[in-house]
Symmetry: C2
Subunit: 455 residues, 2 copies
């Protein structure tokens, strides 16, 4: 009887021990993240001591060195750099713009060159303005109406989407392709309403493209407040002129680096879980939410496993990607490596949607992944992680899809992201330490579950 009781007790112990352990481990990851201030201080350093760090800049190079040193200091088993060439666009001296109307007078406009734009030259350009709200509206214009004008793309992002990335997606075409379409119709420059849901007086930059088939004309973003004012002025005085000056140049490509660090798996080190974010950030802010937060979150995940001494079966690899903003050369480089490394990539998780309270994960993967996430939901629910849905991951890990790697992205609350993205408002002070750390712990919990159970 005593023996039977012992067996029963042991059985209960192991059963409940096992049942409890996942939630206990996840709890310990969150506790450790919420009591750690190191990660937030790292973000402060990246934002304040390095600052904006677009690829090709000395700041980007400094961020690479800083990331490598920090990951070494965390006790990663290996830290290495992956070299690639990157574009080297420079904003040049501060942009200047104004509207001049015989009726309304003269008003300075808050503008900034879009990433990749050619310059106007020191003399600037001055011309009448054609306002359009869509590409279609522009394409249907008689070319005579467009010729010689500054094309003002003024469609606001739709405020009624609950998930604001949908609003971004619905307005970013003007920024990316505005210069091509303007030039195709004979326009001499593109002036694009900043892609944001705010109505503030900051201009948001972001990448734009040219097409070798048409002239490369300057492309600048205008603050949403000034876009609104310009629209009003144009209604009163359609003949007003706008002056634009930017001194951007594209210099020859330079080498830069992804920074990679890993804790080798104890059971199967050639099976890899990648967690990634991007080191580069636009030069007109501090790159706090985009994507300094992600950079320190993936570092923090590594630190959490090290400091709590949680052994992982598979290799946990932090990839701090270079050049997410311009041409995704870092993403291409890592994917090329992954295709040839002989390793098996079990999953890749990206964090590049800001340091806000986490809501869940999106995934770009098959049924097995979907089923596993469904099973893990109850373990994550207490931490506010309620959204698990099929959707895009992020551009840095997207190229791994063709290798069949299941892709996931941390989904934080999206309401404030576009208040900051690509703007001077993207500063350290805009990040909540707790919200950022909850995101890091959420990724760590996901890594723990994937490592333990696979798909």
């Amino acid at each position: 009887m005593k023996k039977l009781l012992l067996v029963f007790i042991l059985f209960s112990f192991f059963r409940s021990g096992h049942a409890q352990s996942d939630s206990a481990v996840i709890r310990s990851l969150f506790n450790a993240a919420l009591t750690n201030h190191e990660s937030y201080e790292q973000l402060r350093y990246l934002c304040k001591n390095i600052g904006g760090r677009i690829c090709g800049s000395p700041e980007a190079a400094a961020a690479v060195e800083w990331a490598a040193q920090t990951l070494n200091a965390f006790g990663a088993d290996t830290v290495w750099k992956q070299e690639m060439m990157v574009r080297n666009w420079k904003r040049g001296e501060a942009e200047y713009a104004f509207a001049n109307s015989r009726v309304m007078g003269k008003a300075e406009l808050t503008v900034c060159a879009l990433g990749g734009s050619v310059g106007t030259g020191k003399q600037g350009v001055m011309a009448e303005v054609l306002m359009v709200k869509s590409m279609d509206e522009l394409r249907k214009m008689p070319p005579s109406k467009v010729k010689g004008k500054i094309v003002f793309f003024n469609r606001a992002a739709d405020p009624t989407n609950i998930y604001t990335f949908a609003s971004y997606g619905g307005a970013a075409d003007q920024r990316v392709n505005g210069a091509i379409e303007a030039a195709r119709m004979g326009g001499i420059a593109a002036l694009v309403r900043s892609v944001t849901l705010q109505n503030h007086d900051y201009a948001h930059t972001g990448v734009m493209r040219y097409d070798t088939a048409v002239t490369a004309v300057p492309a600048l973003a205008i603050s949403p407040a000034d876009a609104g004012m310009l629209e009003e002025w144009l209604q009163i005085d359609p003949l007003l002129k706008v002056f634009l000056r930017n001194n951007s140049v594209e210099l020859p490509e330079v080498p830069s680096h992804n920074v990679i660090a890993e804790i080798r798996g104890s059971r199967s080190p050639d099976t890899v879980i990648v967690i990634g974010a991007h080191l580069d950030a636009w030069d007109n802010g501090e790159g706090a939410h985009d994507d300094g937060v992600g950079v320190v979150q993936v570092m923090e995940v590594l630190r959490l496993f090290k400091s709590l001494n949680i052994k992982l079966n598979f290799t946990l690899r932090v990839v701090e990607f270079m050049d997410e903003e311009v041409a995704q050369r870092g993403a291409a480089k890592y994917a090329e490596y992954a295709a040839n490394s002989g390793e098996f990539h079990l999953a890749a998780i990206e964090t590049d949607r800001g340091g806000f309270s986490p809501r869940g994960f999106s995934f770009d993967a098959g049924e097995k992944v979907s089923a596993a996430l469904e099973k893990w939901k109850p373990l994550l629910d207490d931490y506010g992680l309620h959204l698990f849905y099929r959707g895009g991951s992020g551009v840095d890990i997207a190229p791994l899809k063709k290798l069949g790697v299941p892709l996931l992205a941390l989904v934080p609350d999206s309401q404030r992201y576009f208040d900051y993205q690509h703007a001077p408002t993207d500063r350290f002070e805009a990040v909540s330490q707790r919200e950022m750390q909850l995101g890091a712990a959420s990724i760590a919990a996901m890594v723990f579950l994937i490592d333990k159970y696979g798909w």
Copy 2:
């Protein structure tokens, strides 16, 4: 055959029309809230032109007038004021405090009087400091160790809770009862670590109590940063002294008001759905998140139904409560009215947890309410409302519980709330328009469902 087809089409139309209509109405409420900027401008006015407005102050009186005017302008069917007497505590001139140590030198401390505290007199008090981390620790001290000292309550709020109101609840005892326990043991003042999860240099005020059985000693909050410094200094020099000065006084009670506005129900106007927030706010900030946001959210709900011309069966009543912060006289007054009005209160919903992205609703009600919320969940899920749990509502509607009224509270994301609550940081600029408006629309959606289906 044609007739049959027509019947089939009509049947499909009405069926799908009905099935769609709840989600379409809810979508229209969110769309209208997310495209309205009026409410945010009202919050700006309340914060910037009126500012901190603790009960009894001229600012509180101005807020009452402003609320009544604004609700009238929204086209409410009735707007009226409900009078009650309120306490009239004044902070007096700015507090001043420093620590003086023979070893460490002298350092100014950031402090503020707790709400209701007596003053030290112009000469201030200066004494050695006894630091404790809990009431129990204090109670177990020999009285000789406490006598004549300033008792420094320095237990930090627990950062590991995911829902930060639990952390607040676990630390607020020091603020509320610190002065009583300090005096009972012979202490001459209470110095209380601000109840926040931040580590900044702002002191957070909040109400404190006295017990007529013991001397009323001054009670001040110290910023978390200075609480940390003082703890370090005390480890090095336990004999250091702290100087505290505050000039608070309690003047005779004065009349003040709840502001009430309603849209009368089209079917059964004597059945009432209450939505409430509180007008008063601590004097050391602008009362933005606590609870200016709530004040304009409940106004916005009324505006949404008016502007979308959605007829409600029951009366929608906005109650802007006075005196949530000190003695809840407004709450008592409304409950007294409700008990005698002969109306039936179908539900009361409070919004007093800040203007952050909404997560769901807590409810203090029976099984029918729980079942109805469970049924409505799919309609609200798209808007990020995923939390529906049994829990406390809010102190302004709590007295309605004894009348059997089902109570609900909007639950926004809680991570940043205690960065601002009761502190100079609680400013208009800390509120995101979108997050606040999503909260208003969430309440409107809940009102719509309760009004349509009851429990």
